[in-house]
Symmetry: D2
Subunit: 412 residues, 4 copies
């Protein structure tokens, strides 16, 4: 019994965007990637859009880009951002290839429980869709042994090929098969590994905009129009950003252990991966998506992926920028069941003792406290809160920066 | 096998609200009503709060009141409104008894699917929790035959007793039992039948404030601070408001058929029932709840249930008030699957051809239309929209007044 | 905005079943019917298989057949029965057209909540998928007025056309659109209205085989190899069988009121519709499906739809056959929450007082009764029970024949 | 804000089992442990039953026992086994304390999605309820340093206290709170740490009986009447069995590293933990539960926890016993979507090439393969399969022993 349809890419035709007035600079091609099938036999597909750079006479390597959205079913705004990016990029000169995958998760995207879209996990297994990517650290030490004397370009090419081979091995040579989720994520990851820059577009539940940024890319964070950044260490927990930067970061560390410095954040290697949290889930706003597309273009210009016709185009906005380390990005779990009147504003310091929320407990009215004020004993910056007013004891109520610092404002 | 625990009311003790400064005018008593049990044996209970009027020397009968909230799991704001009503009523003189039931549905209230609370139906059967109340029209004609010569007071007492007997019969003398939902709703209805005025506090998904008002109560609608009213006919579809006004309305009609006029909207009978839609689900806002409590007090003052110390207290706010008949309150179903950027503002006329929403279809980008504008060919007033951006073809996208008229503004 | 894709039928090509040895008597054609689309734009389709009878020189009209399966997501065994029917019918002479629709509900079919398939209702609205079909009784009286003097053949043709026009009107001329469920069911119903005989293949939760049979078709019930029949009256509650027999039955009644007798169970009209309950949900058993296919062929031979090569082929099996009227088909709701040890055997009378089930209540161990025996005070025939051991108070525990009688055994 | 209600144990009164004829040897006491609360304020409690051994003049330490059931909502049979154990143990002499916790998960136990109980994970977060227990390995090395010269009894007492302190620290001194799941699991674990032997009663989806046994307890496996055993290594993945044996096993290893041998499987320490898989979920069968209770008594007699009046009581049954290592216990994921006719019998070797299952794909009928046979290229022993016939590509279809060996048959 053979099942080798995985990852066959169909219908890859270049097509002109319909634009009555003039010829766009770039043409988008579209493919459908087959990622699975449902009980009725219906095929699960993911659309893949590509912008190809013109052949580049430039000596310098410009990083290629992979942008994905909607891995969590309810986090739809990234699709609108990809729409606005494609519209904007039609007429912008690009130096490297950019691949877009909206609707990345065809199971999650269409899965309703009641009125809402089941957000975060496989409805059969409960596994978070963004904890299923692949990384096997054990392959790195042997690679470093072998390539201790190779040049950066060879290292880049060979290690990228190793990562792709690993994924192929999982997808096509596993007699016991793979879970539904891994069939999807591993194929997305195969596309992502082919690029140098990876942006995974998510949202929080009810949330401010924030950015997950690996610590080694901290200089890039301020190019996004996003006021809150979480710096993450080299630790793999199954997410797409980690699955694409951890291998390179670990590679750098292993070379270092053998006494060789390679720099993965520029030059030949130039690998960056971010999870971009666009705001709240269950919402499409095309106007805000336009702003978010400009934010991403500001970052892409910083990385030389796009060329601005005029010097003041695609610059980051001026804003107060806060950051914290992942260890200080705390979930606060509700100390009681009840119904929440969320009070704290996102994105600015909330002094110790000021209320995060009030909890209504009508069952206690008359013979107990019907209203409970919830506060913390330290100053924090609230970043997001739970999506519903009804919480159990232990529901994740808020996420906050418990320790924080400022990032430079590069805006004009 | 006997199961006669239904409706036993426990722990009914008067208690003082803790108020350090002074003695409140009214004391709240609290009871727990047992309405079922879960697989683990855990008991399902509903808290019942009561304010008792002082003995009334007045000749005139003042209607008693029943106010319920949160029958649909996600529609929580009514609990906050009951909290604010209880706080306000501590110091207001009342002329009749008022009963409050927050958390009316202990199954729905706590039922999570993903982050959200499953809103509208029994998770096992799919039946809408607000379509399970009881009304058997066939008992009315015999009653009218028998009481054609009775006075209003006897009619009121006897018919109320008939309705209560009917519910008791269902709850306690049905050898095949009742569904989980009916065990809950019938007991709530038993409390509601004991009052003259019934307010069922709901919310829409994402919604403006609106009121379901039986046509015969239209003069009362303008006393609520709610700008949109839907007038409903004498047709029973299982909801609490219908289950409490349809019997009386049908009684009036049946007497009329035999040539006798009784007036159920004032005097001895004085029966009114409303479904009050407070705004959006999944939200608690105690400040807004205070406003909504004042809105209800304005109506209760109009019905002489409460006494205002000063003449300008508890008057309706001034506002533009729109109304429509139920037959003209239309659901608009999405003509396609996609992700919705909801555009239309609630509560004001949207001219024909103006966009209700834009639908994003990234799968069509490049080889079809990625953005679809949705509009109607007639002017409508949008009242609410679906709770999620992701919709299937045929999902209820908006509800609108398709024909409408103005109600008088009684506000100062 | 126009949405006229509904019901376009694509890919209708005749194809040979792959059969290496010989040419089958009948060829199956396959089409895909488009019935909706999901949030990501994925199209919802339903496969339609057709067997065409050879042109029939016979004077007598032989009824055409429509067989559908899996309208409820978890009730999958009907798909296997359609498979076995198609395999068997390849080599059987047929006198009329037969249409098969497996996987009739592409939303329900693929909808998982945990490991199980959400069975019975639209996950967004809670509406039972088999309560969404269409019947507007008001069109019949005018039709009868007009056709009081028409012959049976004209009545048959014209009334069928009226029913189809009604459905088309709903599907294509409704500016406010239709629900997701009605977009599916109305298109299935359009196919069903084109046939004379309709079989809707369902299953119970954990269940014996049983048959829903309209009272006027009672002579046909004993041709199925199904030991339990429920006779249903002419009352429309939204199910497919009702939506296809109620119009004709009502037609017959309305003609009767005007003094004319038409016979809808034979001759030109010859309309029969059944809901066939094949056993338990969540199971595929191809061997049992073969038996169920033979059961249906026995009925089809009785209706002259198929021709048996030999006289003893396709005869009903001998069995004890019980029947009851719908009003006596009782749901028994659990008198308490708990965990159920289901004891009663399906399909044979359970004497009064004998245990249906034992309910475990470990929370009561030591200070109450941990085991409760559940029995009824009358003899019943248990037909099905709930799918899970865990029940709330009021969960539908069993369905039983509370009064019953025998049907003739036609088996050899 | 303080939340120190966790773990308060209420209502702990000894009570006599109602037994009209004679006085039981042992008396059961019952307590309710508070483990959380829901949005409506309803308290989540877990019943805790205790049998106390008489004061033991014996020098030898007899291990105390903790038995828990129903951590996964659908896995209910363990509650029935606890019932039968309590019934049997009333009249059996016991040498040590035994604690029973049925309905261990008051959220999972009552959580319905459709007809079934949501089995395996928190409906809000998706986290598997049996992956939330606590173990922080970092505390062990310092403990070993300190106690390198202590005697076994001191080690046992001090290390148990350390484990309890760790849990207390988590439950009561965490200003950001704990998840709903950890509030439950950590309190269960606190009870489990107080015992020496831990049995966590689970079931598979549709499953044979099997046992998860830590490798160091392999001699105990054959005392259970369970024909399939999976030997698990010292690796913590969040389950209760691991959370209670990994600390002791790691302790033994760390002592070993420092040159001291302690034996955790007998004498003063005598720590064993098993996950007992009783068969299929969603079922209560009190007769089978009686057999399973005898199986556990056989093991408890082997551990001297109970005393048999007669020598041939409480002995293991004779049976063929297979075992495998965890690394060889393979999940087989469906290579395609479809509807499954499960064919392979549980518990006996299935030769390479023999069909595990047939997959029906009616959408392919006519123009593809409608039936696909699924087999493996090696001999395996199927242990369990998925609970539903409908599977997606990548759904876990079967779990099998891919390599296996025999265990001794101790039965008579």
């Amino acid at each position: 019994m053979v099942c080798n349809l995985q990852g066959i890419i169909r219908n890859g035709n270049a097509m002109n965007q319909i634009d009555k007035n003039r010829i766009p600079k770039n043409q988008v091609s579209k493919e459908l990637m087959y990622v699975g099938e449902m009980a009725s036999g219906v095929q699960l597909t993911v659309p893949v859009y590509r912008l190809k750079a013109l052949p580049n006479s430039n000596e310098e390597k410009i990083p290629s880009v992979y942008i994905q959205a909607n891995m969590h079913g309810a986090e739809v705004q990234g699709n609108a951002v990809i729409f606005q990016l494609l519209e904007l990029l039609k007429d912008i000169e690009i130096n490297s290839d950019i691949t877009f995958v909206p609707y990345a998760n065809p199971v999650g995207c269409n899965h309703k429980n009641g009125e809402y879209t089941l957000g975060r996990f496989d409805p059969i297994t409960g596994v978070n869709w963004n904890r299923m990517y692949y990384f096997d650290e054990s392959v790195i030490a042997p690679f470093v042994q072998k390539h201790i004397g190779s040049d950066d370009s060879t290292i880049e090419t060979s290690f990228k090929q190793l990562l792709l081979n690993e994924i192929d091995q999982q997808l096509n040579h596993n007699i016991y098969g793979l879970t539904t989720g891994k069939l999807i994520t591993f194929q997305l990851q195969r596309l992502a590994h082919q690029a140098d820059i990876v942006l995974d577009l998510h949202t929080g539940p009810i949330s401010s905009k924030h950015l997950y940024c690996p610590e080694y890319c901290k200089n890039s964070a301020s190019y996004f129009d996003i006021p809150h950044t979480i710096f993450i260490p080299n630790s793999f927990d199954g997410a797409l950003d980690e699955s694409t930067f951890c291998p390179w970061w670990t590679l750098q560390e292993k070379f270092k252990e053998l006494g060789r410095d390679i720099d993965i954040s520029q030059g030949r290697l130039n690998k960056e991966s971010f999870t971009v949290e666009l705001g709240s889930q269950e919402q499409i706003d095309l106007k805000v998506a336009h702003q978010d597309a400009l934010s991403i273009l500001s970052y892409l210009k910083h990385k030389d992926v796009i060329v601005a016709d005029m010097p003041d185009l695609f610059l980051p906005q001026s804003m107060v920028r806060y950051a914290c380390y992942l260890k200080d990005y705390k979930a606060f779990y509700s100390p009681m069941g009840g119904m929440i009147d969320y009070l704290a504003e996102f994105g600015k310091p909330l002094p110790a003792g000021e209320p995060l929320a009030r909890i209504l407990r009508m069952d206690n009215y008359g013979d107990g406290e019907a209203i409970h004020n919830i506060s913390l004993e330290q100053t924090v910056i609230p970043i997001l809160h739970f999506a519903s007013a009804s919480v159990n004891q232990g529901t994740e109520l808020y996420k906050v920066f418990s320790e924080y610092f400022m990032l430079p404002d590069l805006g004009s």
